[in-house]
């Protein structure tokens, strides 16, 4: 099992689309854990997804991520925990304890999003928009939520 964390210094990198360091944890099912640091040289989102696939990553824990990139990564069978913040060590501990969806590790405005999304699990977008004072309108975007959920489940 390979878990990748997109990091900057000792914390989760704010934006995965612009991050250039990945900490890869390899777990063997016991307590053994191997840590490797790799650089993502490219900034093109499509290449980032391919890069993760080539590294054999199973789980990605990252900060803010654009949805085309997230869906692209998820479509490769990689579980994505997006919009996560915190120090590397506390995030690793929270992941192992199953506490990653706690509000403590969610970026502002993104509470409820950092649940592992495989092929496009629910993302609570409507709630956030309403909280942010954006009027809930019967718009194309309003329908996207439903169709995106259907389309990727």
């Amino acid at each position: 099992m390979k878990i990748a964390l997109s990091i900057f210094k000792d914390s989760i990198s704010t934006v995965f689309d612009a991050a250039d360091q990945l900490l890869i944890l390899e777990t063997d099912g016991t307590n053994g854990q191997k840590r490797t640091m790799i650089r993502m040289g490219t900034t093109e989102p499509a290449n980032r997804a391919t890069h993760l696939r080539e590294q054999g990553i199973n789980v990605l824990i990252c900060g803010a991520i654009s949805w085309p990139l997230q869906t692209s990564i998820a479509s490769m069978g990689i579980t994505v925990y997006p919009f996560v913040r915190g120090t590397v060590e506390e995030i690793i501990a929270a992941y192992h304890d199953g506490r990653l969806n706690s509000e403590d590790f969610a970026m502002p405005g993104c509470i409820g999003r950092c649940q592992g999304s495989g092929m496009g699990r629910g993302q609570g977008r409507r709630c956030r928009r309403q909280k942010a004072g954006v009027p809930h309108e019967t718009s194309a975007r309003g329908r996207i939520k439903k169709s995106s959920f259907n389309g990727l489940t």
């Binding site: 934006v15 502002p108 909280k131 309108e137």
Partner: protein, 456 residues
């Protein structure tokens, strides 16, 4: 004089006033203290970032703004360090919905009454539509500009970097209006040739003789009026990419010439005595089924195999209906800016009609439908009455006129109801007044095939 004296205001009143002033500004504004924690956050900032004020206050600005410069090239940090304001710097942020938005930011120091440093202020505005139009003008498209959540397109995204990396010829098949050129440009802009030219030629637009001189160029004196050398598209695309659109339309004579150019990697400009070597990557596109044309002897088999090193088939819009709301939103944003209108979206009824249509003209047709609606709809939501009448005469493609049995009629009726409800099963069941398990059973027994993406 006493009537002109300034009334004493409490600190709460002053705060309220400041907040009202900030909220009246159309640009996003936030202030930070010396520890980079947000101290004020206006309404426009809420709307652009998707983060509410209550969630933003007290947080580190990087966690709220989520900009690509936050960690290494933070503008606020630069301003705090050297006191110099930054004006209109373009950066990208990720909003709370995961959209990557280009914004223009400006920063300045925030000083107190006595000149003491309190922190800094950042103003920003969403320039995504301007950016989108700029891309449209310069055609600098990348994969992130391809709007889709369709599984077939996502699968393509996963292999396209590898295709872009290689130098092989690619054949892009798809109906008219499915975005073949957009994909070709995205492949080019992702490839190692991205800094070299991308040259597009529509092969069906020119007769044979003109196409030959267009592609290969000519030498002075090659024919009357050829006063000086003219470089062809192969020369113009040297080291870059040549996109041959509508390749299925070229004549057999031109097919032979093109085959030779692709095989030998050389071409001869008209009137030239020597061959010229080229280093051009070919991307070809067609809205025809080339395999079928080969079978009908209308397209040379050897040329077909030469260009069909890797084939990409783009699905028509009717096979990626889940993308329609995304595309509609995209076109509404674009036309709002172009036509200075404030259309907010599409009503439920209008969306039902748009989701029921089969779009033979694909995305181009959808764009035209929205553009037409903008003529009639000045503000608010696009309603049913703003849509063309042709959309209301939807006939199921599966209908078999003249040979309908009761089972066929029932299947067609159910398929139409599902389509109108965006393939939402519970909603369809409610509309039909049946239990959803009955609906599922009927779908199964009648063999109705939902959209592939929803099947799973």
């Amino acid at each position: 004089m006493s009537g002109r004296s300034r009334p004493n205001k409490t600190s709460f009143q002053i705060q309220d006033e400041q907040s009202a002033i900030l909220d009246s500004i159309a640009d996003g504004v936030f202030t930070v203290d010396k520890d980079w924690r947000i101290t004020s956050f206006n309404r426009a900032a809420e709307q652009i970032t998707g983060v509410s004020r209550s969630e933003a206050i007290g947080q580190l600005c990087k966690d709220v703004l989520k900009a690509d410069i936050c960690e290494k090239r933070c503008c606020l940090r630069a301003t705090m360090k050297n006191g110099v304001p930054i004006i209109d710097k373009k950066v990208h942020i990720i909003d709370a919905e995961g959209r990557r938005l280009p914004i223009s930011i400006s920063t300045a120091l925030l000083r107190g009454k006595f000149g003491n440093l309190l922190g800094a202020v950042e103003t920003f505005r969403d320039i995504s539509v301007e950016e989108d139009l700029r891309k449209a003008v310069h055609a600098r498209y990348s994969f992130s500009d391809i709007i889709s959540k369709n599984h077939k397109i996502l699968q393509l995204f996963n292999i396209l970097p590898d295709i872009a990396d290689s130098a092989s010829t690619v054949l892009i098949e798809g109906e008219s209006g499915t975005g073949k050129e957009l994909f070709a440009r995205a492949i080019h802009n992702l490839s190692p040739r991205k800094k070299q030219p991308f040259v597009a030629v529509n092969c069906s637009a020119l007769p044979d003789t003109l196409l030959e001189s267009e592609l290969f160029g000519y030498k002075a004196g090659a024919f009357t009026d050829a006063k000086k050398d003219k470089p062809g598209r192969f020369r113009l695309a040297q080291n870059g990419t040549l996109f041959l659109d509508e390749i299925g339309e070229i004549t057999p004579a031109m097919q032979v010439k093109l085959l030779r150019v692709l095989q030998e990697k050389t071409y001869e400009p008209l009137g030239a005595t020597q061959s010229v070597e080229h280093n051009v990557r070919i991307l070809a596109a067609t809205n025809k089924n080339l395999e079928e044309l080969v079978r009908q002897k209308k397209f040379r088999e050897d040329l077909y195999y030469r260009i069909n090193v890797f084939k990409i088939t783009l699905p028509p819009l009717c096979e990626r209906m889940e993308d329609i709301p995304l595309l509609i939103e995209h076109f509404i944003n674009r036309f709002n800016v172009l036509q200075k209108k404030s259309v907010t979206g599409v009503s439920d009824e209008a969306m039902t009609v748009l989701m029921s249509y089969s779009y033979p003209g694909n995305i181009r047709e959808l764009a035209n439908i929205i553009e037409r609606a903008f003529i009639l709809c000045k503000t608010g939501l696009i309603e049913k009455r703003h849509l063309p009448e042709s959309l209301f005469n939807v006939k199921s493609s599966e209908s078999k006129e003249g040979s309908l049995c009761l089972r066929d009629v029932e299947a067609e009726y159910l398929a139409n109801a599902l389509r109108q409800n965006n393939w939402n099963f519970p909603q369809t069941a409610r509309q039909l007044g049946i239990h959803k398990s009955t609906l599922y059973r009927k779908i199964k027994s009648l063999g109705i095939k939902p959209f592939p993406s929803i099947q799973s």
